[in-house]
Point group: C2
Chain length 307, copies 2
């Protein structure tokens, strides 16, 4: 028995998140050995060149052979198929998890694709950057961030599997929370999916406004616009999947956002300064709460401008 | 004749921007002497304690006496009144400018309030942070940012005034652009005012969604939401003024944003993944352009998470 949380770890899909898990697991000694598969031959080559894993396989079932924990980290809509492709190699008693930003639809797809005798424990680390690919990952990405696990059963053996996965994420530096998949999807619709949707939208709007040249938008973006371009630079395929797989929760929160925006627009049109000031004062407190919760830098401008 | 761009500088209103101008002017030797007035006695006390200026006055007309350049930096709706209050002290030939994020309405108010014989040259440095007050300012705030000046006349004496003000902003480390006030207001509606409106709105929406507790919003904000809270923590009074003073341009760009959002919402509802992916790929390029233009950090996550 190794001192690591996991003896044999396999990671399927080696982009920003997959490669960060590998780097963190190595740095922290959270897994005794790590094998990798990615559906892109170019990514596999790059992972070999970077020397990230103990072994890089050209087939998913070979990569997961004898693994105690398999983390699937392709774009969300590809997870079910990735589990199916690896299924023949999974050993009895293996824990399989994922990192997808949607949990309801992905949990269903994983459960359907998984062979009997493995423990499916869907997961989602709330961490990332706007960059993609195996070069973008880094070992400290999960430190003091939250990993949400969405257990699907409650028997003793399953609970042990959840405990093992919890220990793994704790070893990477994460905090861990257990949550119902449906609740996860509405919480993330608010804290992640709607913000991305709005950011993608405003960046598109700004690029299309007739009276303002695209060069002007870039030049004068320090007035606020540039902040939105960060998350609007996130992986296009992953985000396409997120909106399609979490459609109901996204449209519900978008409906609320749109109603609020109409009220705000009305207040501007009517010159109701008091209403505006009241909202703008209230929103200030939310940021203070996020900084107090250790989830944001207290530096002005995210610390991007050094004094 | 001093080697400084300006011999006697007065700054009226000493918050984030006013105090940054003072700090930058001192650091760069852009003004031989600096006097200050702020309508808040507490701010005046603080500016004295910080030792920012050569002299802090308790009346605006005393602060601007003999000044060659007066920069008015109170919230935008207070600028006209601030000029009126200082008018008796202004010397003939003085240049008066401002830093307001709206130029059409503010230029009008300044012109109306200014005495004969002074040069009114409205201005706006595209720089800031989410923090407020004289302690929040810093000397490098304007470095490699754009200061927009909106000239109101074209005679020789006026052009000399514009050149002097240009030299002052260049001395603070800014780039300078001349622009028609109306065009400024539509450009800034896109690159600054609409982003702030959207950010204030989404932070309000997230706080109000029934199914998700405010604590959860804060805890899981690293999924994207926290980015929006930065500009939604900006000064409430200043932003109230901006939306009321630039109402038409803000509502026009908001209309465009809302139409685009409806189209995006429709694409999600209909499961049109190709449309989503196409938009999300296009928006990525805009951020690269902003980074290439030197207006944004190339570090992932704004550099807020150190690797």
């Amino acid at each position: 028995m190794s001192a690591a949380a996991i003896d044999r770890l396999a990671v399927i899909g080696c982009g920003l998140i997959g490669s960060s898990i590998i780097r963190a697991a190595r740095d922290k000694g959270a897994a005794a050995s790590i094998s990798v598969y990615d559906s892109s031959a170019a990514v596999r080559e790059r992972v070999r060149a970077l020397g990230l894993a103990d072994a890089v396989f050209d087939a998913p079932d070979a990569a997961v052979k004898d693994a105690d924990l398999v983390i699937f980290a392709p774009p969300p809509a590809a997870i079910g198929e990735a589990v199916r492709a690896a299924a023949a190699g999974l050993k009895r008693g293996a824990i399989i998890s994922d990192v997808g930003s949607v949990k309801g639809a992905v949990a269903e797809a994983m459960t359907e694709a998984a062979p009997d005798g493995v423990f499916v424990v869907p997961g989602h680390p709330i961490a990332g950057t706007e960059q993609s690919g195996p070069d973008a990952g880094f070992a400290t990405l999960f430190e003091n961030r939250w990993a949400i696990l969405c257990p699907l059963a409650d028997d003793l053996a399953y609970r042990t599997a959840v405990e093992t996965l919890t220990a793994f994420w704790l070893a990477l530096g994460s905090n861990v929370e257990l949550m119902d998949a449906r609740h996860h999807d509405i919480v993330l619709a608010v804290t992640s999916h709607l913000p991305h949707l709005i950011a993608y939208n405003i960046v598109g709007t700004a690029a299309d406004i007739e009276e303002v040249a695209e060069g002007e938008v870039m030049k004068y973006s320090a007035g606020g616009f540039r902040d939105f371009t960060r998350i609007a630079a996130s992986d296009p395929v992953m985000w396409r999947d997120v909106f399609l797989l979490n459609r109901d929760a996204v449209l519900e929160t978008l409906g609320q956002f749109t109603e609020d925006l109409q009220a705000l627009s009305r207040a501007i049109r009517r010159g109701e300064g008091d209403k505006l000031e009241a909202l703008f004062t209230r929103t200030r407190a939310i940021r203070r709460g996020i900084i107090a919760a250790g989830q944001e830098s207290a530096e002005p401008n995210f610390g991007r401008d050094k004094k």
